[in-house]
Amino acid sequence: MENFEPKIVAFLCNWCAYAGADLAGVSRLQYPSNMRTVRVMCSGRVDPVFIVKAFKEGCDGALVAG
């Protein structure tokens, strides 16, 4: 359990958080690599069903960022 690396599905808005994540990469900021990113055109596009589905498929956590 010590080295548990959670799997996190991140729903990122194309115009806000995705660009932010991109910039974080470009400016070489350190952030954890546990995220599996799903780019959406707007965070309003994220249906609660997507999140339930992500958990069904076995992710440990979810992040919606816009």
Binding site: F4, C16, A17, A24, K56, D60, L63
Partner: protein, 158 residues
């Protein structure tokens, strides 16, 4: 999430603008740390709950209610009464809980837990609530009464 016993701490919501790389890195770190604390999630242990949650969130009842929010709080209902947001929130929560429990019962019945007692053992709801919601499920043709077995009513999912 809380209702299904998965825990609200597994789901994070944050606002990050495109210029806020630093903030994104922080949000990402916080999310990972918080989920790490929760430990691994086993979807098999929550299969029934996840199915019920999926049916609830994808179902029409909840969508109707959510879609009515602006109309009810800004324009008023058919009697011309305006709802305050708190009142709407309370109704939404109780509808959510009821729909979730109904779907939980439906999922349990489809998996072969056919009597009220068995369903109760499986999903941990009290028997009175289950009978009440079963009657509701019967009305909408989701569950049907199949007859008696050893004086125990048996239900089947349609």
């Amino acid at each position: 999430m809380e209702l299904a016993g998965i825990g609200a701490d597994r789901l994070h919501l944050a606002w990050v603008s495109s210029a806020e790389a630093q903030r994104f890195a922080e949000v990402a770190t916080d999310t990972v740390e918080s989920v790490r604390k929760q430990g691994a999630f086993d979807p098999k242990a929550f299969a029934l709950q996840l199915n019920a949650a999926e049916r609830t969130l994808g179902g029409e009842t909840l969508r109707w209610i959510v879609g009515k929010e602006v109309a009810l709080t800004k324009k008023g209902d058919v009697y011309g009464r305006k709802w305050d947001e708190e009142q709407f929130g309370t109704v939404l929560n109780s509808v959510l809980e009821r729909e979730y429990h109904k779907n939980l019962i439906y999922c349990a019945v489809s998996e072969g837990f056919t009597s009220v007692r068995e369903i109760g053992k499986k999903i941990g709801l009290d028997l009175k609530r289950i009978s009440y919601l079963l009657a509701d499920l019967e009305k909408t043709n989701m569950v049907a009464f199949q007859g008696m077995e050893d004086k125990i009513p048996v239900f089947a999912a349609l």
